[in-house]
Each structure stands twice: as C-alpha cells, then as structure tokens.
C-alpha cells in the first residue's frame, strides 16, 4: 500500500508521521532536534523504518514543514515543502472537520488559527519574543525542580493560583522568584505559571480575535493539562486536546503530500547518506548574504540565502 511521510522539524522537537491512503497514522515519532535538524531527521527515519517493518507500506511522497523544512525537503527529496501554519490547519481540519479555533503553543512559537467552514480565515503568530511558549515553561519547571511532564498534574492540585506577571518572560521570572520567597506554595505558583502562559497568549496572539468553539489546542504545550485547564477557565469553552496534537504539523504536511498527487522516489537509504552543509558570507556586495550550500555525498545539491543573482551558486 502507498504511504505518505510528513516531517515537522521545529526548533525544539522533530516530528514524523507516516499515513496510509485513508489518512490513518501507521507510524509516528517525536524526538528532540537538539540543534541538529539533519541528525534528528536521520534518527527519526530510523525509528519510522522500524515501525513500518512488516507493514508492506511504500512511501511514495514526502512533505516537510517547520523551520528547517527547506533543508530537510532537499534531503528527503520532498514533493511538498509547506509552512507550519498551513500544515497545522490542514492536519487539524482533517481530524476535526468542524473545528473553528486552533490554539497552538510550541517550543519557540505560538499561533492562533481561525477557521470557518474548513477554511483558514485568519491567523496570528508571535512576533518578537518567545514569552509564554514551551521553552519558557520548561526553564521555569527546571527552576522549580519539577519536570515539565509533571507540571500540569501539579497545577491541577492548586486551588488558588498565584498571580504572576504575564507580559514578559523576564518579568514573570522575577515575579515567580519573589512569590516563592514570600511563601506561596509550589502548586499555586505552578498553576499561576500556567495561567500566565494563557493570559500572555490571549493578550498577544489572540488580541482582538473571537474564539468560537470547537477549540482545538495543540503543540507540545497542549500535553500540559494545567495549561489546558487555564485555557478553559479563560475562554469559557471546552478545549479539545487530540492525542496526536503534538504531531499535527507532520500529519498535516503528510496529508498535503498525499493530496498534491506528486510522487517522488523516497528511500530510507538517506539515513546512511552523508549530508553536509556549509555556509559562507558572499563577498560580492555590502549585503554579505549568508549563503548555505547543501552537499550530498560531497556533491553540491542545493544552495540558498542569496538576495541577488551575484550570489547564486552554480549547481553542476
């Protein structure tokens, strides 16, 4: 049977999903990018290959999304390279056709997508800073000596969440230290942090938007039940967290690859192929574009980063 591979390479985590022709997930994996997108994808592919073992599925098309989508798209010979906003919207509307609002909080970014009748009609994404995203929560969890995984459960125990300044990560952090020192309990502080993340999100990303149910909450932070509850308290509606919510971008881009109708050869051999990137500053004008060249087995296969033709690198 034909299979479609979707890969979502984020700043923090890398997600991979293989779907069959009926959009059923037949293999999936979630692992840390660790600052090495190509290495992460190789590890990811190894896991997926093992999961597919004996399932008689042949991958005929690959889609990539996330901040490293272009690089990984070249590496895996992808037929679709799509931005993560569209990928998430497509993934979610495939699984929840009636969804009207998507909240998403990832490691470094957060976004809101408003959907009407299955079409995206509005969206917003955080701009300059990463306040209120997953990386903030995990650094604060570390400070409080609890793991991010337990964070949500602890928050649910609190009856009086502490008020924590939500506007900016730096302020939130000093507020948190202060509240801890004057004797607020850990549960209350953790619940307060969850609330702060939600307040920050709704004030920044959700500013001026209407949140019509059904609301789906996804991205890594959606696994945190404390944040989910804080969202429900704040918007007054039930918030759905899909069990595959953390894979939605990868799932969406796999669906896009399937719907594109383009089939390109893909082989798990890329795991053993050597890929290398080199970067250099183009000296031809004062723009000094940072040009990236991608090599496959020491052969140049693609390059980008140049603003003008002077910096174009010829591919033989």
């Amino acid at each position: 049977m034909k299979g479609y591979l979707g890969i979502d390479i984020g700043s923090i985590s890398t997600k991979g999903v293989v779907i069959d022709e009926n959009n059923e997930i037949v293999a999936s994996e979630y692992l840390w990018t660790e600052g090495d997108p190509m290495g992460a994808v190789k590890r990811l592919l190894k896991v997926l290959e093992n999961q597919l073992n004996g399932k008689n599925i042949k991958i005929v098309s690959v889609g990539t999304t996330g901040s490293a989508r272009k690089l990984i798209g070249v590496m895996t010979n992808a037929s679709v390279v799509k931005n993560e906003i569209t990928a998430h919207a497509v993934g979610t509307t495939t699984l929840h056709p009636d969804v009207n609002t998507i909240f998403e909080i990832g490691g470094q970014d957060s976004k809101i997508i408003i959907i009407e009748n299955g079409y995206v009609v509005d969206y917003a994404m955080n701009t300059l800073c990463a306040a209120g995203t997953g990386s903030f929560l995990s650094s604060q969890a570390h400070r409080l000596g609890v793991s991010v995984e337990e964070f949500g459960e602890i928050a649910l125990k609190s009856k009086h969440p502490t008020n924590i300044a939500a506007r900016c990560t730096v302020f939130a952090e000093s507020d948190l230290v202060h509240k801890a020192q004057i004797g607020h309990s850990k549960e209350d502080i953790i619940a307060g942090l969850c609330k702060a993340v939600v307040t920050n999100y709704l004030n920044n990303i959700g500013k001026g938007k209407k949140f019509n149910p059904p609301i789906v909450f996804q991205g890594g932070v959606s696994k945190n039940v404390g944040v989910k509850k804080a969202f429900e308290d704040a918007v007054g509606h039930e918030v759905i967290v899909d069990k595959n919510g953390h894979l939605m971008g990868a799932f969406g881009v796999a669906v896009l690859a399937k719907n594109s109708g383009i089939e390109k050869e893909f082989s798990f051999d890329v795991i053993d192929t050597e890929f290398k990137t080199t970067g250099f500053d183009c000296p031809k004008c004062a723009n000094h574009c940072e040009i990236v060249c991608v090599f496959k087995d020491n052969k140049l296969i693609d390059s980008w980063g140049n603003k003008c033709d002077n910096g174009a690198v010829k591919i033989n």
């Binding site: 901040s67 931005n83 917003a124």
Partner: protein, 353 residues
C-alpha cells in the same frame, strides 16, 4: 580647498531621481544618489543610534554615514507628525559627535509662515540659492515624483503576471538611469511618455480574478523596500496583485489628509499621529474595493501605527478581510517573514476557491 556642495537625502524608494533633479537644477548644487541600503547601512545606523528609536531613524543615520564617507557634505532631513520631527536634530548631533564635518538642512526648523525663515534655511544648502531657479525646477520635480509613483503602482499590480520575469523592473531601472541626466521639463516629458508606453507593452498573463493584497504601514517602512524586506516583490513573485496607496503623490502633492480623515471617520474621530489616519483610510478603501487581504508593516515602536493597528482590527471584523501585521526592527529573521507570507497566501488562495 574644494568648496563644491554635494547634497544627499537618505535613501527612500526611487525618489532620489526627483531629489537629484531638484538639487542640481533648482538649488544649483551637486547631488549624491545615496548608496543602496545594505546590511552594512543598517548595522552602521544601529551602532550609532539609541537602541529604542524607531528603525527608520537607523536607516537614515546609516545612510548618511555612508554618504559622508563617499564625500557628501550637505545632509538633510524632513519632518512629520511624530518622532520624525526630532530625527534631524538628533542625527545632526550624532554625526557631529562622530566628528563629521557637514552642513545640515533640517526642514523641521523652517517656519513655513515666514518667507525669511524659508529663505534662510534654503541658504544652508546653497548660500547663492535662487528662488526663481527652484521655482522653475519644481514642475519637473513634481512630475518625476508623480511618474515614479504611477509606474510603481503599475508594476506592483502587474509584475506578478509578466511572461518574462523582471521585464518591468528592468524597464523601470532604465527609466531611472535615463532620468539621471535630464535637465529640463521637456526632456523629462519625453522620457515619461516613452517609458510608460514600454511598461504598458510588457506581455502579461493576468487571470480575471487574481489575489489582490493591499499594503499599509508607517511612512518609511511601507515605502522603502529594504526596510520591509522587499515584501512587495515577494508578494508579486507569488502571483499577487499588490496595492499601495502611501506615496509622495498621495500624501504631499495631492495631500489627501483631509479626505482620509473623512473616509475613516467611522473608525477614528481624531488625529492619531503621523500618517496613521492615512493607514486607516487606505485599509478601508482596500476593504471596500473587495481586496482579498491587507498587510500592515510598521517599525517596532511606531506609536501612530500602533494606534492604527487596533482600528484595523475593527475594519477586519466588519469587512471580513484578513489583516497580517508585521513589526520590524533592525533584526528580524527573513525566514519568519516568509513563513507568515506563505501562510497568508495559502489562506487567501484557499478562500478564493
């Protein structure tokens, strides 16, 4: 000692053509076309600017430093209804502190009610300035500005559909190059006719109902391509018809301020600073004309545009037109901008179907 005056105004879209004409033929001084903005310009500007100043200041300052290094010795700055009023004073001080020697024509210091003050200030550029000569050069200067705006409007709306990529941009560049040596009104008129025709003759494949997007934003960011990461070109490449009303023709030559206030009356009752009332009126016009989306570009910390942003959200709700907001500082990753633009395009094209 070389006493030749070499004037330079910061890089601002394609208007250097008009400024060159005015200074060489009106003021009777040499004009230096500022070097194109590069990463180096903004790095220089940021290095010597207060960190929290709005980013157009950093571009202007960087541009002035580059011009001084290349031999310009008479700089100038305009004024406006926001922090722009202080640009000149601050720039002059920073550049003097850096040890540069130059004359500075700061239009914020002119008292336009007093002919004496006007003349005094014009004499900063050239002590032997002749008002008659300036008056004679004005019709062509205004003409050049209007033609540039007209051509750019045409290119924005059509370049996304041309059969041979970059044809229009090449014609436009050629036009600007030829303008460089014009000295009179007749000569300019002839060029204008010739190149408008050339542009109109470029072959395009435009669908009947293309995606149309309108740009709004603060005066500098929306007009200077480098400062908005060449957004217009990016949109054109996606096959979008781009609209942008903010230009010199609409704000200074035809001054549509009063009509802007009137158009936007339902949404803002008072002056919200700088050109933000224009922004509101333009967005409303785009919405009423049935454009598919609006993009607001502004420099981080631009208060008038921040005022407009909230108003734009009301327009977005009332007319069901999506608006994408960008806030730029000297550093913003291009990848992030492209991601948002791509998603915006996906959204508009899915809706269109």
């Amino acid at each position: 000692m070389n006493n030749e005056i070499i004037a330079c105004f910061p890089q601002w879209g394609s208007y250097y053509c008009a400024f060159r004409f005015l200074f060489e033929n009106g003021f009777g001084v040499k004009y230096m076309t500022p070097p194109p903005i590069t990463k180096n310009t903004i790095e220089l500007g940021s290095k010597h600017s207060p960190d929290y100043v709005c980013v157009p200041f950093k571009y202007c300052l960087g541009c002035h430093i580059e011009a001084l290094e290349k031999g310009a010795n008479c700089l100038m700055q305009i004024y406006g209804g926001c922090r722009l009023n202080y640009y000149g004073e601050l720039e002059e001080k920073i550049l003097k502190d850096l040890g540069y020697n130059f004359k500075f024509f700061n239009m914020a210091e002119i008292n336009f009610k007093s002919p004496k003050s006007i003349l005094q200030n014009l004499k900063i550029v050239n002590p032997n300035v002749s008002i008659v000569k300036i008056a004679k050069a004005l019709p062509a200067t205004i003409g050049i500005i209007k033609t540039i705006d007209r051509m750019e409007d045409f290119i924005r709306q059509n370049a996304g559909f041309e059969q041979n990529e970059n044809e229009m941009e090449d014609i436009f560049s050629e036009f600007k190059q030829k303008l460089d040596s014009t000295t009179g009104y007749k000569e300019y008129k002839k060029l204008k006719k010739e190149y408008l025709k050339k542009l109109a003759n470029v072959k395009i494949n435009k669908p009947k109902n293309p995606i149309r997007v309108g740009l709004v934003g603060d005066y500098y960011t929306v007009q200077e391509p480098f400062s908005n990461y060449n957004m217009e070109k990016e949109l054109e490449k996606m096959g979008i018809e781009v609209h942008r009303e903010m230009n010199l023709t609409n704000t200074i030559i035809k001054s549509k301020y009063k009509s802007s206030r009137k158009i936007g009356k339902k949404y803002v009752k008072f002056n919200i600073g700088a050109t933000a009332n224009y922004t509101v009126a333009e967005a409303l016009k785009y919405a009423k004309n049935g454009l598919d989306g609006i993009i607001q570009v502004k420099s981080f910390g631009c208060t008038p545009e921040l005022n407009a942003q909230t108003v734009l959200q009301n327009i977005s709700k009332d007319y069901k037109i999506p608006i994408l907001h960008f806030s730029f500082d000297s550093q913003t990753s291009e990848t992030g901008i492209k991601t948002r633009l791509e998603a915006f395009y996906d959204m508009l094209s899915a809706k269109k179907k």
